[in-house]
């Protein structure tokens, strides 16, 4: 990066394109994950949201419905506990907890290590439940095919403008806990408009893990992507 002259540095030294190592290193790792997933034909999803927006509950419902059809494994990021992985195992989905020890996001390197710890043979869909936080996880590419962000009806519809980077980098937004909408001042139309200001062509629809609203639609979306991923791999072999 910096012009390494033989003279001692004096005055002002220009450092063109000296991207800070932290993120550069992550992008490199993410690319290697993406390559591996392409070779294996595994659909990789990164699920993000604020804390408590219903990620684990949605994945429980997803597992219940799709586990006979696809081999699904889940990596769950959490600051301290093993609880979410246990909840997923309770419904019969293989899950590995990644305890970040206080780090507020998952990084590519953590995913690489977690992948080494599980058997990926025959897996169709690998889902990463990110740490509940809309800020930091937005900046860390995990090599995913799709980033799916949950925006809960309990959170307020102004989130897209508060956390634009996350919504800009997402491929699908689910308005979760839609069963509570009748009791809350949340406007689905306003939320969709704000998401689309940031990300014009993105698909947005409501889901409820409690009543099942939108869950079939979500499972169909997932099924379609998983089948397409498998096809793209067999086509290129």
């Amino acid at each position: 990066m910096v012009d390494k002259s033989t003279k001692a540095a004096r005055g002002t030294v220009l450092c063109d394109n000296a991207n800070m190592n932290l993120l550069k290193a992550n992008d490199f790792v993410a690319e290697s994950i993406r390559k591996k997933m392409a070779e294996m034909g595994i659909l990789l999803l990164n699920i993000t949201s604020s804390a408590g927006s219903g990620k684990t509950t949605l994945l429980q419902e997803t597992g219940k419905r799709l586990k006979e059809e696809f081999k699904i494994k889940i990596l769950v990021g959490d600051l301290e506990t093993e609880r979410d992985a246990e909840r997923l195992r309770e419904v019969g989905v293989e899950a590995l907890q990644i305890v970040t020890g206080g780090i507020c996001h998952l990084e590519g390197q953590m995913i690489v290590q977690a992948m080494d710890a599980i058997d990926l043979d025959g897996v169709d869909i690998l889902i990463i439940e990110n740490v509940g936080n809309l800020v930091c996880p937005a900046s860390f590419d995990l090599g995913e095919d799709y980033r799916v962000t949950l925006l809960a009806s309990t959170e307020g519809d102004d989130k897209p403008k508060k956390y634009p980077r996350m919504f800009f980098t997402s491929d699908l937004v689910l308005i979760s806990k839609s069963d509570l909408l009748p009791h809350l001042p949340f406007s689905v139309e306003a939320a969709i408009q704000d998401v689309r200001d940031v990300n014009p062509e993105i698909e947005v629809f409501p889901v409820s893990s409690l009543t099942g609203e939108g869950i079939d639609k979500w499972c169909n979306w997932l099924r379609e992507k998983a089948i397409a991923k498998r096809k793209s791999t067999t086509a290129s072999v």
Binding site: A9, R10, A18, N19, M20, N21
Partner: protein, 115 residues
């Protein structure tokens, strides 16, 4: 976000590029941070102060942060425009665009040494 690790990573980058003797003369670091980088300049300054406290070598160094606005490129018009209030549309034809050309930077732009 992870401002302290970013500060550490800046210093590591500089430590790779310059000798300890040179770094003793370090006076100022100029960063460029895009407003879409999810890094708060104020938190970055605080993190830098905290790192200075624990690492005496950088006590004399000032951190200068320049914020860069978000810019997108419109293929139809061939022009770039500033994104205001996170509405990602071309300022000329109003068509949506997600081609970011500025705003996610985390750059060490310049470093200043004592002469």
């Amino acid at each position: 976000m992870h401002e302290v690790s970013l500060v550490r990573s800046i210093l590591n980058t500089l430590e790779e590029q310059f000798s300890p003797e040179e770094l003793q003369q370090l006076k100022q670091i100029d960063l460029q941070i895009g407003i879409f980088a999810n890094v708060e300049p104020l938190l970055m300054q605080n993190a830098f102060e905290a790192v200075k406290e624990t690492d005496g070598r950088y006590r004399q160094v000032v951190l200068h942060i320049e914020s860069l606005p978000i810019k997108i490129y419109c293929e139809d018009c061939g022009v770039s425009s500033l994104v205001e209030n996170y509405v990602f549309v071309c300022s000329r034809c109003k068509k949506p665009s997600n081609q970011l050309i500025q705003g996610t930077e985390l750059l060490i732009k310049r470093v200043h040494f004592d002469d």
